[in-house]
């Protein structure tokens, strides 16, 4: 398990909110917000990998992009290596970019189709360094070696590569300026399984060698278990559980995490037979209109009355384990109604706009 003692936090996110306005009518009046990320706080320590998991549309990618200010967040603060990201003006922000980079989900679309590999990897060097042409080329070759790309490919275009190779280009590009922090936004989701392992191993290897810090966004729970030191689970724009990896996989605390982990298939057929899945009913509510109280109260198998009224806070209930659930409130814990059924009378706030 990752030892946080004595390691300084590299990234501190506090109260991050990313609302996308909904406008309607002739005058485009503001009628509401899609709360893609709603009050998210966490820290990532230097050299650590924080896994961010959750189902599609829960705000994982938005969160990652907002941290790097590829979106303009609505509220909150992000401090990376002692520097405020959200308060920086455009000029300062650009100078901070070398420190924080991103590996994108779609390796095809995220590379400019009209640029060669060397141009894609070398462009940040043009912008942020004063290297000579020969030095730049040497650096480009060095990066290509690091990610396992043949140097002969430097003058080819992205469409001439396979998906795994393209993702390597994306990683080499992110590494070009020696970043400290990399947001990996589902870097393996577009790859097939054999290539996924290669890319994840490459990321781990680079982390060991270069001392990188990752925010690893994924919906692949087994992959996150492999790479992450701590895991944050998101649901409907909020972090509902944040724990060290081994603890969360051994004993998930939040009912949603329990349901999520129960869905991971078991490779052993004997164990698979006895695996009991917690099947949630209903759909994720619309982030434009989240339910009152706890966001999960519409589908929670252990829902209580208080859940529909009061929003739970993310609190540390055991050392290093944060959960946002009324089940673990010191006062409410005892009143959990046994066998409470999930309410299905919330059809009005189902997703699907």
């Amino acid at each position: 398990m990752f030892d946080t003692a004595g390691v300084k936090p590299l990234i501190e996110v506090k109260g991050l909110k990313m609302y996308f306005p909904i406008t309607a009518g002739v005058f485009r009046s503001h009628v509401g917000d899609v709360k893609a990320v709603d009050d998210v706080s966490f820290t990532i320590f230097e050299g650590e990998t924080l896994g961010l998991v959750g189902e599609s549309g829960c705000g994982k990618s938005t969160c990652g992009r907002a941290i790097l200010r590829l979106y303009e967040p609505t509220a909150g603060s992000v401090v990376i290596d002692g520097q405020d990201v959200l308060g920086a003006d455009q000029g300062l922000l650009r100078r901070m970019r070398p420190k924080m980079q991103m590996v994108f989900q779609d390796p095809q679309a995220s590379l400019n189709p009209r640029m060669t590999v060397a141009a894609i990897i070398g462009e940040p060097l043009d912008e942020h360094t004063t290297l000579s042409k020969a030095e730049k080329l040497a650096r480009i070759y060095e990066l290509m070696d690091q990610v396992g790309l043949n140097r002969d490919f430097a003058n080819r275009y992205p469409h001439e590569f396979s998906g795994g190779q393209r993702q390597r280009i994306g990683i080499a590009r992110a590494l070009a300026l020696n970043p400290k922090f990399i947001v990996c936004d589902e870097p393996i989701a577009a790859l097939d399984v054999s290539i996924q392992a290669q890319v994840v191993n490459l990321l781990e290897e680079l982390q060991d060698r270069l001392g990188l810090t990752y925010l690893f966004i994924s919906h692949d729970l087994s992959m996150v278990r492999h790479i992450a030191d701590r895991v944050a689970v998101m649901y409907l724009g909020q972090i509902i559980e944040l724990s060290p990896r081994d603890a969360i996989y051994a004993e998930p605390l939040h009912p949603y995490t329990q349901a999520l982990l129960s869905a991971v298939p078991e490779p052993d057929p004997e164990a698979e037979k006895t695996r009991r899945r917690i099947i949630l009913t209903g759909d994720v509510p619309s982030p434009a209109n989240p339910p009152k109280g706890c966001n999960f109260c519409t589908r929670c198998p252990k829902v209580m009355d208080i859940c529909r009224v009061e929003e739970p806070r993310l609190t540390e209930i055991r050392p290093g384990r944060f959960v946002s659930c009324h089940l673990y409130d010191e006062t409410a814990g005892a009143t959990a109604a046994p066998g409470a059924t999930p309410s299905n009378n919330n059809t009005a706030i189902q997703q699907g706009e």
Binding site: L70, Q90, L111, N112, P113, P124, E127, Y157
Partner: protein
């Protein structure tokens, strides 16, 4: 690339032959008599002799093949003679206009400069103002600049040139008397005063045509920019920490220009075709105006030759657009 060009040029030969036949047959089928304007006082036997002299008595296919021979053999030989002072073409029958009894190519050569100057300049001006408007409109989508740009291009699109031309004449030539309403082709630019006169007489026709061209191209540019601005690789470019200038002008613009360049290249043949209506409104005696005059007079060799030259240009610039595509987009390779 070279073999592709060669292959395309070879395919162009049968294409153009078929086009020439279609044009010829269409003109043949069109009603009207080249001698219709000859006064009734001319005796019928004289008229018959004139018909004989124009070669109108031979069957259509004889006249078609004769035209082919004249266009593809005699005219190039004459061009060679004119360029190098030789006399290979002496005595060969050139394509002669029924109307003026002058070689058709000579008339075209006389009128080409006016058309290229006015229509060509309007095209260049149109492109030069359309590209920045399209880029800024897309980058600041739905801003006041974009809304005004959209409104102006809507006007450019929907108001015909014969209307804008006349409006400009009434306002600037009749009321304000800033510019002359008639384009004077005989004007020779010799000094500053005549240059100024030339500029003044070009302002209105160029404005009318430039508005029309800019309206179309700026819309293409805007749409193409918007398409690319939302792409993932633009986000990658921003994440690299590039300046907005580099992101927009290098990454987005270069990718957006590809379809726009095609549209611009395909528009070039229309310059040579002349803007028939605008030339008519401002009395610019260019190729477009000549085409109208020849159609009125049933001057078949002239109409046939002009139309066919437009066809060649269109086929040629189609090829140019395809080649540009291959140069701009590394994913497209012709070989």
């Amino acid at each position: 690339m070279f073999t592709f060009t060669l292959r395309r040029l070879m395919i162009a030969i049968p294409t153009l032959l078929i086009i020439s036949l279609v044009i010829f047959l269409l003109l043949e089928a069109a009603p009207g008599d080249p001698l219709g304007d000859v006064p009734l006082t001319v005796p019928p036997e004289v008229k018959a002799k004139m018909r004989e002299a124009l070669g109108l008595n031979s069957p259509w296919w004889v006249r078609y093949i004769l035209w082919l021979k004249q266009f593809f053999w005699v005219e190039p030989v004459h061009l060679w003679d004119a360029l190098f002072g030789t006399h290979f073409g002496d005595g060969m029958q050139r394509v002669i206009s029924f109307q003026s009894r002058q070689p058709v190519m000579q008339i075209i050569a006389e009128r080409m400069p006016q058309t290229l100057m006015v229509v060509g300049l309007a095209y260049v001006v149109g492109v030069l103002i359309a590209l920045p408007i399209g880029i800024i409109s897309a980058y600041r989508q739905y801003s006041w600049f974009d809304n005004i740009g959209t409104f102006v291009s809507m006007i450019g699109f929907s108001v015909p040139t014969f209307f804008t031309g006349v409006v400009l004449i009434i306002v600037f030539a009749v009321k304000l008397q800033w510019f002359p309403s008639v384009y004077d082709t005989t004007l020779k630019v010799t000094d500053a005063a005549s240059f100024w006169a030339q500029v003044r007489q070009m302002v209105m026709p160029v404005t009318v045509l430039a508005l029309y061209n800019a309206a179309q191209i700026s819309r293409f540019m805007r749409a193409s920019m918007l398409d690319n601005l939302g792409q993932d690789y633009v986000r990658t470019a921003r994440a690299k920490g590039l300046t907005e200038k580099v992101v927009v002008l290098i990454h987005v613009l270069r990718n957006s220009l590809i379809p726009v360049v095609t549209v611009i290249a395909l528009g070039v043949p229309t310059i040579f075709g002349g803007a028939i209506i605008t030339e008519q409104v401002f009395k610019v005696n260019g190729l477009g105006q000549q085409l109208i005059l020849s159609i009125h007079a049933n001057d078949m060799p002239m109409v046939m030759t002009l139309t066919f030259i437009f066809a060649i240009l269109i086929v040629l610039f189609n090829l140019v657009a395809d080649l540009l595509y291959g140069i701009l987009d590394p994913r497209i390779r012709y070989d």
